[in-house]
Amino acid sequence: MKKVLRANLEGYLFIMPWLIGLVCLTIGPMLLSLYMSLTEWDLFSPPRFVGLGNYQKLIFGDPLFWKSLGNTVYYVGGRVPVVIILALVVAVLLNQRIPLRNFLRTAYYLPTVTPEVAMFVLWVWMFDPGNGIINDLLALVGIKPGPEWLGSSDWAMPALIIVATWSIGSVMVIFLAGLQGVPQHLYEAAELDGAGAWHKVRHVTLPLITPVIFFNLIMGIIGAFQMFTKAFVMTNGGPANATLMYVLYLYDQAFLWFRMGYGSALAWILFAILFILTFIMFRRSQWVYYEGRGR
């Protein structure tokens, strides 16, 4: 009995820092933010309780809320599949024994370690219709004149998605780690059955790393919904709000105009959307194969 008590005490001692953080930095602030979302508060005068007023105003009387939500869904829909597929392909290629492997891995990781701000400003320059190298390159293959990119409300969002394609580094690393967990003997067995390279990827690698794909998919969607820096640095939401992202709008409301209550309501709607999305994805995750537990 004493031993059990001791074990419990010890266990809680080890996780204590996280538990304190959970209460003080997560659950406490969450409750506070839920309450704040029911108030009007500019930090300088005391908060005024308005009930569901903020939510009502957001949903029925704020076109920018819908605009930013639509933009964000567009971005997530473009970015997530591109990044996951590309990162997976690159990881499979860089998992082979090829020359210069360490250099190539570093090259693909390079845009991830370059300071984001510098990278994004550099892209602004490269996308410049007059001075940028992207339209120079397009002109070489006969596309002249190239799009206005960040100056055009049709092309600004595709430009941001293209930029996102260059930051596959972390997703690639997690895929590479997952690929190392695929037992070598399965490849050997497949080879004995006469499987070629494509078959090995399709019938051995892919099924076994579905949990990693699922992990990257969920984290990718959650991350992409929170995109901020890219839009803040590259377009600041323009032109004509074409790249006004959800979190950028939230930042403006809370930290530019000090509407803490309205900002909190925006945060809770985002949370609700992500919660429902994640829930649906978990319910529909029969395609994910977990080794050692059958299907």
């Binding site: 080890f14 996280w18 290629l93 090259a107 370059t114 967990g181 949990p211 909190s264 809770w268």
Partner: protein, 296 residues
């Protein structure tokens, strides 16, 4: 037996060279290398452009056709960038924040992960589910109240809001380390326990030496996260001498123009530490992430 090999050898000989297995493997490898290499170049171009611009004269920046390798190398752009904006100061600030947070992330996440991986206590599995759920919580939900709490503590314009949270452990790092710890055989721990070792002893003498790759992975992820961070410094640091590299880079831009070559020089300098770290540590980095048994 001998005859068999002979026959096989002769059939191989009979095949034309493009149908032979060795040739096909070779072809496949070359193809894989070529695709990976071309893609690698595409990923390298922005950085190359940054390096090349960082050593250009102002007059070489916007010419048509673009200059990829300038004929004169303006290395003085580098010291100029360091003094133009108090950039040396920003490096120091960023290094302090990154270094301290990294220590917090590694030490505290290791302790908590060990608790979740090897201790038996009531509610452990439920609490671990809660931990996983917090990974999916968008930071915006807690960000505004956290700002208000830090503000009432007088922490605005100090490094504390950027550092202190790391000392309460980070969900993703705890998750990575726990996955790794689960793979360490129980026998090793039992042997130490029989000799009367305490849990902290077991952690320090058994788990830590075996988990250096996973801990290095957490250290690298943590380094990248804090070195790169833009959002939290933007919210919390607003006086000029407290800024970080990410914020400082923005100062090379005004509404009307950008001081390109100096900005790129500063960016290249900011890229070098994480770049070297990744290049030399990638072996540990990748083997330190255990993604098998995600559902355990």
């Amino acid at each position: 037996m001998e005859r068999g090999t002979e026959i096989r050898a002769s059939t191989v000989q009979a095949l034309p060279f493009w149908k032979r297995k060795t040739f096909q493997t070779y072809l496949g490898q070359t193809l894989v290398f070529l695709i990976a290499f071309l893609g690698g170049i595409a990923f390298f171009v922005p950085f190359f452009w940054a390096v090349s611009s960082s050593v250009k004269l102002d007059s070489q920046l916007f010419v048509d056709p673009p200059i990829w390798i300038p004929n004169t190398i303006q290395l003085q752009n580098y010291p100029e960038a360091l003094s133009a904006i108090p950039f040396a100061r920003y490096y120091l600030n960023t290094a302090i924040i990154t270094g301290t947070s990294m220590i917090g992330d590694v030490v505290v996440s290791t302790l908590v992960a060990y608790g979740f991986a090897r201790m038996r206590f009531v509610g452990r599995d439920t609490l671990f589910m809660v931990l996983l759920a917090t990974m999916m919580l968008p930071m915006q939900v807690t960000m505004i109240p956290q700002f208000i709490i830090y503000r009432s503590l007088g922490w605005i314009n100090t490094f504390l809001p950027l550092i202190v949270p790391s000392f309460f452990g980070s969900a993703f790092y705890i998750f990575l380390l726990r996955q790794f710890f689960l793979g360490i055989p129980l026998d090793l721990e039992d042997a130490a326990r029989i000799d009367g070792a305490s849990s902290l002893h077991v952690l320090w003498y058994v788990f830590v030496p075996l988990s250096l790759t996973a801990m290095a992975t957490v250290a690298i992820f943590s380094f990248m996260q804090h070195w790169q961070d833009f959002f939290l410094p933007l919210i919390y640091l607003n006086s000029n001498d407290m800024k970080t590299v990410s914020l400082g880079l923005q100062m090379f831009r005004s509404d009307f123009s950008t001081d390109w070559n100096h900005m790129m020089a500063a960016s290249v300098m900011a890229t070098i530490p994480p770049l070297l770290l990744f290049f030399f540590a990638q072996r540990f980095f990748i083997s330190g992430i255990v993604m098998t048994g995600l559902k355990e």
